[in-house]
Symmetry: C2
Subunit: 342 residues, 2 copies
């Protein structure tokens, strides 16, 4: 790619660099004739204005940096769609970076977004991330910043979350209400807050119902995949053939479990009841239809964008913005995989 | 966000701007003491080097711009993952932009990528796009550029594709081989090349087998969604109750069809046989398991990146690069939804 500078345009037209620059910015003290000549030549030479210089002038690049851990879970694709829609309505473009659950990649991506001078940053943390340096860097630089879904409790920024503990508690309580007494939990990795909170919700529901907690019934999905659902379904039934309920960290894992059970004539819900988390549209398509917890992905995207907009406006008006946390509501969706069948 | 300029650093340290600039770039004619002072102050003030200036110096920003129509179809999430993996191995970061199947958004995104001076651009076109101006602009600027999956035949750039006509032909031939004589096609929108080609493949297979083509058996999915699969399944059975086969543009639509048939006691494969396209992992989880065409998403991501790398290397070595088209192989995956059952 050949870079054409203002100087070349100036030389070719026999005018000063300042005049070229002013002409491109449509300044009133340059003649229309000169403006036309400069614009035509700039176009012919494929001249791109230095975006940084443009930013300095307008103070805004009208771009949003969005870092997400992955797009395989429909939850994140839904959030992305909602954010892009809101951004478009407000004249912003969204740059998406996918950290693939890697802290080191996430760090590089934050650095890139800062260097590319996006106006605002939105992050859902990777499984390896906490309140690390790169997060502090965003906050120190005073860049409008929102964390959503996968957050760090310690970071001093706005957050959009659900109450994962309560949601998981309700899911497990629903299994217990339908007769389950030996419930396995396919949990997420050890670090992410939402995975910790869902695990705590599971434990609290057992405790509330006087069901002894057994750590052997808890299996850790390192990558939270469909395949792990299949593999742990097999392992659970081999190690605890009398398990009568399974609570999975997310629908993708629950679907893996259901798929294994269907292939091995383990009857759902008669022998084992299953509940997932997130309300993926595919959970309704399976036989039996999967019970789950509805996680408001669309609302999460919209709320996150609006919090950013609010913070940006405060910056513009030079008024103070106090970061805050918005908690969205979830609900247990009861379908065929978890109901009592005599 | 407050921008700290070189000038402020220079003023604070009582040295020239040139010295500050040279110190930050580690020039040998600046003393170590000055370099340390400048670096420390720059860090304290959160100074970000103007990325454009850095690019001009290194001639590379080590970023890849990737524009995709959407991430809801697993196919694109798989391609994204493959591209990110390859890019990471080679020290590049991937900026993803999602056009939401909109030509106007895609145009703005290409402009943004050019302005942000990414090194290379990868595009899978939106349903509304062809060989439009913004595509020409990338080619005119001599930016290494690859189109994949959803391409424009007219654009003079490298492409990674499958033979959609042949793949669709094989899928429909498989239905015919299993006894289907009245086959409906749930096609994609009218503009995209892959949707046109799959439709042509469908027609050719009918022709080859002396089955008369009936335009009333072709239904257009404007948005290629699960819901359209459900809606058209209903419409097909109302309008043509004797249909015995359905070929859907993609698995997501086929899954909608299957879901409707399961809910309405229309037996698959006994009454109607179904085949999808893309080999989504979910197509194996359904009852009955869905037959499909395997589309090599991972290979498509890897091949696209390697073509880009090749073009970049030619640019670096100032050797000529001739764009070329790589065609990847597909295969029909036979599962339960399309086999003969007496």
């Amino acid at each position: 790619m050949k870079d054409i500078t203002l100087k070349e345009i100036a030389t070719k037209l026999g005018i000063s660099i300042t005049t070229v620059s002013k002409a491109l910015k449509d300044y009133p003290d340059v003649s229309e004739k000169t403006k036309k000549a400069v614009t035509a030549l700039a176009q012919e030479l494929h001249y791109t204005p230095n975006s940084f210089a443009v930013n300095l002038r307008t103070k805004e690049s009208k771009t949003i940096g969005l870092i997400i851990p992955e797009v395989m879970h429909h939850f994140f694709s839904n959030v992305i769609n909602a954010i892009i829609d809101e951004a478009e309505k407000n004249g912003y473009l969204v740059i998406i970076l996918q950290s693939n659950e890697s802290l080191s990649l996430e760090k590089k991506q934050v650095e890139l977004l800062i260097n590319k001078r996006v106006d605002v940053i939105l992050i859902s943390l990777s499984n390896e991330s906490n309140n690390d340096e790169h997060i502090q860097e965003i906050i120190n630089r005073n860049i409008p910043f929102v964390m959503f879904d996968k957050i760090s409790k310690l970071s001093k920024c706005s957050k959009v979350v659900i109450d994962d503990q309560k949601a998981a508690f309700n899911a497990v309580q629903h299994l217990i209400d339908n007769g389950c007494r030996k419930i396995a939990h396919l949990r997420g990795p050890l670090n992410p807050q939402n995975s910790i909170d869902r695990y705590i919700g599971y434990k609290k529901a057992l405790e509330k119902n006087n069901i002894p907690y057994d750590s052997k019934l808890v299996y850790t999905c390192e990558n939270v995949t469909f395949q792990e659902g299949i593999d742990y379904a097999k392992q659970v039934m081999e190690e605890h053939p009398d398990v009568d309920g399974i609570f999975a960290i997310t629908d993708l894992v629950a679907v893996g479990v259901l798929s294994y059970f269907n292939d091995h004539q383990i009857k759902v819900p008669e022998q084992v009841k299953i509940i997932g988390f997130s309300n993926w549209f595919m959970s309704q398509v399976l036989t039996p239809k999967l019970s789950t917890v509805d996680q408001p992905s669309n609302e999460m995207g919209i709320t996150s964008f609006n919090l950013l907009l609010e913070e940006m406006n405060c910056h513009k008006n030079e008024t103070e913005f106090t970061p805050r946390t918005v908690e969205l509501q979830t609900k247990v969706i009861i379908r065929e995989s978890s109901i009592k069948k005599e």
